[in-house]
Amino acid sequence: STIVLLFEAPRDFTFNLKAGQKIHFGEPLGTI
């Protein structure tokens, strides 16, 4: 199964992720 987040945010929102990395619920996705 999959969860897709779609959201608006200020232009300077940046993800601190790498495609393919493992992640746990509660860990940060990105910063503004």
Binding site: T2, E8, Q21, F25
Partner: protein
């Protein structure tokens, strides 16, 4: 027909013919993938091999919903106590489940695989990050993320799907004129972005079979609307996501939309073959993976009602829903 040609017909058995043609097709496909790997090894960017319409239609013709419901029924059958440990240990070993994080580690506690699949975690094993405004809603693997451009969202690098097909028409808030004429695609994306200077972002989290399958609120937001799209239950593992364009638009899914402090926010739970059912804890009306549905349909439900003008307020990290077998 003379005897010889009849004899020839009798000798051509369908099974060997099927095996030869199928084997030839698989061999040709594997050679193509080998060649792509060689090119990538030399640093040459190779476009992903997308399934053609016939292949997608063939895949969609597999009765995945029926299989999924049967799988779910099977996993609701309570196991005798002596059988629980071996069955669940096999599942744990196969999918790399970390039982130390489970709220209940004793395998005899779970009456069937469905219950085991819905296991909760010990609260302390997943601290919710306070210093960031958006956190992961679930355990899993980051398939893809980034900015949405021209109304196309990437499910994996290089394979996209249409934002409007995925979310459905923007009618969940009555602030938008419904009788839109055929404007260019970007206006759909523009309608979602409510504040000047903002952009639309997306992130795709893939939950593997051994992962914890509940999901939580990724931020503080107000959920105003639910749109349920009945659909196929094709596998959504990364290999299939690289192969079938618009995969997430084919599959059964539940779109929750609303607002957070920066404007539009949505979380979509997409079902898959063995995980056909989606539960949203505060939505008792939702029924997914039902036997009958009409293709391309969806049903809407608003959480904003006369006596609840706000919708459902969710705090970051709060329990939101779960995927179930079947």
């Amino acid at each position: 027909f003379n005897a010889k040609s009849l004899g020839l017909q009798a000798r051509i058995r369908p099974l060997p013919l099927f095996i030869i043609t199928g084997g030839g097709y698989v061999g040709y496909d594997q050679y193509g993938r080998y060649r792509d790997r060689e090119l990538e090894r030399r640093g040459i960017e190779v476009p992903p091999r997308i399934a053609n319409e016939a292949q997608v239609a063939l895949y969609k013709s597999i009765p995945t919903r029926l299989l999924s419901r049967a799988w779910g029924r099977l996993n609701q059958v309570d196991l005798p106590t002596w059988l629980r440990k071996p069955i669940f240990s096999l599942y744990i070993w196969t999918f790399g489940v970390n039982m130390k994080e489970a709220a209940v580690e004793d395998l005899h506690h779970y009456r069937n695989l469905g219950e085991f699949f819905r296991r909760k975690l010990k609260p302390q094993v997943r601290p919710v990050c306070d210093s960031h405004c958006v956190t992961s809603p679930a355990d899993g693997k980051i398939l893809h993320f980034g900015r949405v451009r021209n109304c196309e969202v990437e499910q994996v690098k290089g394979v996209t799907y249409s934002l409007e097909t995925f979310l459905g028409p923007h009618t969940w808030t009555d602030s938008v004129p419904i009788n839109r004429n055929d404007e260019d695609k970007s206006s759909f994306q523009d309608m979602l972005v409510s504040k000047p200077g903002n952009e639309l972002f997306h992130c795709v989290v893939y939950l593997a079979p051994g992962d914890y399958h509940c999901f939580h609120s990724p931020t503080d937001w107000r959920v105003a609307h639910r749109r349920h799209f009945p659909g196929s239950l094709m596998s959504v593992n990364p290999g299939v996501a690289r192969w079938i364009k618009e995969l997430f638009c084919h599959n059964e899914r539940v779109v929750l939309s609303g607002e957070w402090k920066h404007g539009f926010f949505s979380l979509t739970a997409v079902g898959a073959t063995n995980v056909g059912s989606i539960r949203i804890y505060f939505d008792k009306e939702l029924r997914t993976n039902s036997p009958r549905y009409s293709k391309g349909s969806y049903n809407d439900f608003s959480y904003v009602s006369n006596n609840n003008q706000e919708g459902i307020f969710m705090r970051k990290g709060e329990h939101l829903g779960e995927f179930n077998l079947g």
